[in-house]
């Protein structure tokens, strides 16, 4: 059986390693350090760890003050509170002066599950992507999460790192080296291209195997860097394809789908189909049930591809 890991778990371990390597890493949490896994860092480095309490706005602004004075703070909470509740603090105090604050949004997306819409962040990529100076990273698995966590500490400006609590198989190959803006092609095919991000990368790879049974060859690209968007790679990967697809457990408005649409609209004739949450709120349910409902399990992705190809073929 395939080993499956939650990206937040890999993040917690990577953050601890980062703390061992660098004395300028500080970590802040808002009473969720067990869930976000910042607890590992906190136990090892109590003098650089701050549980600010249930006060996310205070957390972000405090981190900005640390960042302006020589520290690289990692901010931890659920993605919805971190990006939604603190949008103004992130915009004015972090992104505007381009301070090196790292925002680790945990339990992101539909796969947050039973807690329901109040806790399911389906707009965080959009909110962070629109901010100047912000880098947006959504790792696909444990390997990429560990590498990305270390890599973003070296970026001089702010970064949003989207993490989840949904077990996914390792999809990145042995020896993989994460680099911001690189969009790894994980499977090749000449009929369609699937641009996927985060948990949806493994789902899209599974979908591509189902599509192979239907004699459709899918290329699958891991868009782990959503900003800065590597438009040249997107155009190259789309060239000659009958259709392009985006797959995300996030609103199709402004997230991965929006970002790829902007690239294709400016430079390609490949039609785009955006799979994800179609302009609605989430609801309670198990992660797998919610993905099923929104057509984001491998079978659902396959069905959407077949339907779109049939429509395009007419």
């Amino acid at each position: 059986m395939t080993t499956r890991t939650e990206t937040r778990m890999a993040y917690g371990e990577a953050l601890l390693e980062l703390g061992q390597q660098r004395s300028d890493i500080a970590v802040l949490d808002a009473d969720l350090y067990n869930s976000t896994r910042s607890v590992l860092f906190g136990k090892a480095f109590p003098n650089r760890f701050f549980d600010i309490g249930i006060a996310e706005q205070d957390l972000i602004s405090t981190a900005a003050g640390l960042a302006a004075n020589g520290f690289v703070p990692f901010c931890n909470s659920f993605a919805i509170f971190l990006t939604g509740r603190c949008y103004d603090q992130i915009r004015t105090q972090v992104a505007y002066p381009s301070l090196p604050v790292k925002l680790a949004g945990s339990s992101a997306g539909l796969t947050e599950g039973p807690d329901g819409a109040s806790h399911q962040s389906l707009e965080d990529i959009t909110l962070m992507r629109v901010l100047p100076n912000m880098t947006v990273i959504v790792p696909a698995d444990d390997v990429e999460t560990k590498q990305a966590t270390a890599a973003i500490a070296n970026i001089p400006g702010p970064v949003y790192l989207r993490l989840g609590r949904y077990p996914v198989p390792t999809v990145m190959p042995p020896g993989y080296k994460f680099e911001v803006g690189q969009l790894p092609r994980l499977r090749d095919g000449g009929d369609i291209v699937i641009f996927a991000t985060g948990h949806m990368v493994s789902k899209s790879l599974e979908a591509s195997e189902l599509l192979e049974q239907e004699h459709i060859a899918a290329r699958v690209v891991n868009v782990s860097t959503i900003k800065p968007m590597n438009g040249a790679a997107i155009l190259r990967d789309s060239e000659g394809m009958r259709l392009a697809f985006t797959v995300e457990e996030h609103s199709v408005i402004g997230g991965l789908g929006g970002a790829i649409a902007e690239v294709l609209a400016a430079g390609a004739s490949t039609p785009l189909v955006r799979l994800g949450v179609q302009d609605m709120f989430g609801e309670s349910g198990f992660a797998d049930e919610l993905l099923q409902k929104h057509g984001l399990q491998p079978g659902g992705i396959r069905d959407s591809v077949l339907k779109a190809l049939a429509t395009a073929g007419r």
Binding site: F50, G53, D58, L59, I60, S61, A64, L66, A68, T92
Partner: protein, 296 residues
């Protein structure tokens, strides 16, 4: 690092030094109104109410180096009520962070002097504010950075009394007291007026301001925010404390120094016509002249 001629700890500041600081504050007020100029909307009231406090910080209390604005050991000042930044611009220019001539570029396209504080543009600014209520948390971050690194600098954060409506201020107040940030001093510019009217006239219960801070674990001192001796004594009191963060509630007059702006909410963010501008400059010049003569 610029050093100031401080009185001995516990000793009252000399009357000559108080007179000198009062003259500098008078000069600041004139520069504030001049940089704003006639027929343009500016935050006159809030910039003039806290001028004396800002003068005492820059020319009495704080250590800094205008040639090296990011000197790691410098004392930090953050204007959380960002709309009053013209007062800080005047102090920074007078202290030598940038040329005095540059004050005239306030809020113009391409200027380093933005309408609200932007650390990436202006030498001497510590952070970005303008959205009210966020500055005290940022100041906490600066104080925590000093603690982790073992640096001895002090952190000052100036808030408006109207700004205290923002809930994040009280989140930050709890953080500072729980973390025993003794290097931090908050100063409330209690001019009683906000943009529309009296700060206590809306749906927020503010008074008594000092008791609110005490309830959150801060040491509180209330002063006349236009009495230079009281301001200096309060700043010295705050820097001697050893177990809790301190707040100075400075009771001020919004628009202080220009008779027809004083206590008028209409001048929160509005313009002076040519006649009003000339009168304001005349009043402030006369005041500065009096103080300069008194000094001789």
């Amino acid at each position: 690092m610029m050093g100031h001629t401080h009185s001995m700890p516990g000793q009252p500041v000399s009357s000559a030094e108080i007179a000198h600081l009062e003259k500098l504050a008078a000069e600041m007020r004139l520069r504030i109104v001049r940089m704003m100029g006639p027929n343009k909307a500016h935050h006159f009231g809030g910039s003039l109410s806290l001028t004396d406090v800002v003068a005492a910080l820059y020319f009495y209390k704080m250590s800094y180096n205008p040639q090296d604005p990011r000197d790691p050991g410098r004392d930090r000042f953050l204007m959380s009520k960002g709309h009053s930044v013209p007062a800080q611009y005047a102090a920074l220019a007078m202290a030598g962070f940038f040329p005095l001539d540059e004050l005239a570029t306030l809020k113009q396209l391409g200027s380093r002097l933005q309408g609200h504080p932007a650390m990436q543009y202006t030498p001497g600014l510590e952070g970005c504010t303008g959205s009210l209520g966020q500055g005290l948390s940022f100041a906490n971050g600066m104080a925590l950075a000093a603690r982790i690194k073992g640096l001895k600098y002090r952190v000052y954060c100036l808030l408006g009394d109207g700004e205290l409506h923002e809930g994040q201020v009280w989140e930050a107040a709890m953080t500072a007291s729980r973390c025993c940030l003794t290097s931090l001093t908050a100063i409330v510019d209690a001019n009683r007026l906000k943009a529309m009217d009296d700060a206590s006239a809306c749906c927020k219960a503010l008074a008594p301001v000092g008791d609110r801070w005490a309830g959150f674990g801060w040491l509180v001192r209330e002063i006349d925010g236009h009495n230079m001796a009281e301001i200096c004594a309060a700043l010295d009191w705050a820097s001697r404390l050893e177990d809790r963060p301190s707040v100075i509630v400075a009771h001020t007059v919004k628009g202080k120094g220009v008779s027809f702006i004083e206590n008028q909410p209409g001048f929160h963010n509005s313009s002076l016509n040519d006649e009003q501008y000339a009168r304001a400059v005349e009043e402030l010049e006369a005041n500065l002249k009096t103080r300069s003569e008194a000094r001789q």
